[in-house]
């Protein structure tokens, strides 16, 4: 990729320095928006660009902004910097290496929806990063880019960081709002959605870090420019976090619609140790497992194509699995994660992940029969679609897809277990 729009730090050294960022037109867009554009005009550009939320759901960003209830004030922006999906590490690089573009995105969103306060909710582990952002925010206040009556207008804006404390569920937008209100991070019943009932019950836009980092260039260069990249339904570039059994794991900014093959083999250097690729998880641990055949490898990574091979693009955290990995081990890992992170609010998720954990442990330890595999699938089915938020569903994706698509892994494991038992009881 020759051009970077999000990871511009890779082309422009020291763009994390405000002086350098401003030399590259930084905050000119924000200033011209506040001084010469109506808030709705900003929203219209974002809407026309077709930008879709980069946190996982892929919801059209401009449309979300336009849903904000204008009969209920004040409004808030909450930037979702809780990045916790296993396999995802893109927001961290954006905030560390190109922080001002992200902050300008937050500021443009705030102006567009008429918010005078925006919170950046970071996972607690990003403690050092939050301290760094606090220093950047202070700097922006000293430079009069944040504060009261900006650029001689009536518009005022403050940004604040807020640290979580180790809970995956807080990445879910309504759980995040609860957490920010000082409560347990547990999801709310929706509707109402945050644009009508958000932080402190007020209209709120919650957007992912990467989504917001897209906004300054979209407003500066226009929707038409943005649509030159990516596909019609998934415009723009995306930061793909590549991890697992691959030579060169890391973040790769590529146009949406790039194939799995290009990401994994051309950029990621392929599979180490002379092994073969077996499966792909395109959306982190909450992803279905794709059988990595030629068709899958040639599938474009965009919101509309990945479902054709039985998964979702989600946050585009591509975990590569080689042929040394058995799926019973893999789902034991993912199920442990979700059992630990279930917030406990909905019974199917709380109890279901607990029981799935026991069964996957038995299977991977070679102590289970085929009946246990069927039972596991039934428990997963009992969770799917029956919870307030997506965490419950996420916990079932790898389980159900691997049983369906990698059945022989489970057969091998349970046959071996049966033979061991047979050998023990035989005289």
């Amino acid at each position: 990729m020759s051009e970077y729009f999000l990871l511009r730090n890779r082309e422009i050294p020291n763009i994390d320095d405000l002086v350098i960022y401003r030399q590259n037109k930084g905050f000119e867009t924000f200033q011209s928006a506040v001084t010469s554009m109506k808030p709705d005009e900003v929203t219209e550009i974002v809407k026309a660009s077709g930008l879709r939320g980069r946190g996982g759901a892929g919801f059209p960003t401009g449309m979300k902004w336009s849903f904000i209830d204008k009969n209920n004030w004040p409004h808030y922006v909450v930037a979702n910097a809780d990045e916790s999906e296993p396999g995802t590490f893109k927001d961290r690089e954006i905030m560390e290496s190109n922080p001002f573009q992200f902050l300008e995105g937050v500021m443009l969103c705030a102006y567009a929806i008429g918010a005078n306060a925006a919170y950046i909710y970071l996972r607690g582990e990003f403690w050092q990063l939050a301290a760094e952002l606090d220093r950047h925010i202070e700097y922006l206040e000293r430079e009069n880019l944040l504060g009261d009556k900006l650029f001689g207008t009536d518009y005022s804006l403050r940004l604040y960081t807020h640290l979580g404390a180790g809970a995956y569920i807080c990445g879910e937008e309504t759980a995040m709002l609860e957490s920010l209100e000082g409560k347990l991070g547990q999801p709310r019943l929706r509707p109402p959605f945050p644009p009508s009932f958000g932080l402190y019950g007020k209209p709120t836009v919650v957007n992912n870090v990467e989504t917001l980092a897209n906004v300054p260039l979209i407003v500066e260069r226009g929707a038409e420019w943005y649509r030159k990249f990516g596909t019609e339904k998934s415009p723009g570039t995306k930061v793909f976090s590549l991890s697992g059994n691959v030579e060169k794991p890391g973040n790769y900014e590529l146009p949406l619609g790039t194939t799995f093959r290009e990401l994994i083999f051309a950029h990621g250097g392929g599979i180490p140790g002379g092994r073969n690729i077996k499966a792909i998880m395109p959306a982190g641990a909450s992803s279905s497992l794709i059988f990595a055949d030629e068709k899958a490898l040639d599938t474009p990574m965009d919101y509309e194509s990945v479902p054709n091979v039985g998964a979702q693009l989600g946050s585009a955290s591509v975990i590569v699995i080689d042929d040394s990995v058995s799926m019973d081990w893999l789902i034991d890992k993912t199920v442990h994660f979700f059992a630990h992170e279930s917030c406990g609010k909905c019974t199917p998720c709380r109890e279901g992940t607990y029981w799935m954990r026991h069964i996957t442990e038995r299977i991977s330890h070679g102590q289970a029969s085929w009946d246990d595999v069927i039972l596991l699938n039934e428990v997963a089915n009992g969770i799917k679609g029956k919870c307030l938020c997506a965490l419950g569903d996420f916990a079932t994706e790898a389980v159900m897809s691997s049983i369906a698509r990698f059945r022989s892994d489970f057969e091998t494991k349970t046959h071996a277990a049966a033979e061991t038992i047979e050998a023990k009881v035989s005289p």
């Binding site: 296993p86 590490f89 582990e125 404390a165 347990l184 991890s243 697992g244 641990a285």
Partner: protein, 167 residues
């Protein structure tokens, strides 16, 4: 007088100023981080103090401590090492790293070394999958990331803490 208020008055005021005046409860998480700096865990008395500052019950404060994994309610090692061994890290050898590291320290995962310096355990995803094996260290005052680790490198870090602690 509230001891937390007394010791960290201006810092607490700065935290409270981030949130609307009628939404003081929002400050419970940052205040718990301040409280935890004192001993590395949060005491019963501190639950009361945080609750008093925010006008919420000690039980509510305790529920927050219990829900979030970065708050602790009992003492462990001075440095809590948490090795990420979720799927992407495990594919890059994190399980073996955790086992070997624990062997070298002479503890089981979840345990604390005899000198009380290090507690080590596995942890859920830390958003550093491309630099596994990796871990975070939570001390009284901060959290730091240590990436692309080997057991030898990690042991050097532990030794540097032991020397700093005069052992």
């Amino acid at each position: 007088m509230n001891p937390l208020r007394e010791r960290y008055g201006s810092e607490i005021d700065n935290v409270l100023a981030k949130y609307p005046a009628d939404q003081k409860r929002s400050a419970v998480m940052p205040l718990l981080y301040i409280a935890q700096r004192e001993r590395g865990y949060i005491t019963r008395a501190q639950l009361d103090q945080v609750g008093e500052i925010l006008g919420i019950s000690s039980t509510d404060v305790a529920s927050i401590v219990g829900f979030y994994t970065l708050y602790h309610d009992k003492p462990e090692g001075k440095y809590r090492i948490q090795v990420c061994n979720d799927l992407p890290c495990a594919l890059r050898g994190a399980d073996k790293f955790l086992r070997d590291f624990c062997d070298r320290l002479g503890v089981e995962p979840g345990g604390t070394t005899a000198d009380g310096v290090v507690a080590v355990d596995g942890v859920m995803c830390l958003a550093a999958c491309h630099r596994a094996p990796m871990f975070q260290v939570q001390s009284r005052t901060e959290i730091s990331y240590h990436e692309d680790q080997t057991v030898d490198k990690a042991m050097q870090l532990v030794e540097s803490w032991r020397q700093a602690n005069g052992q």
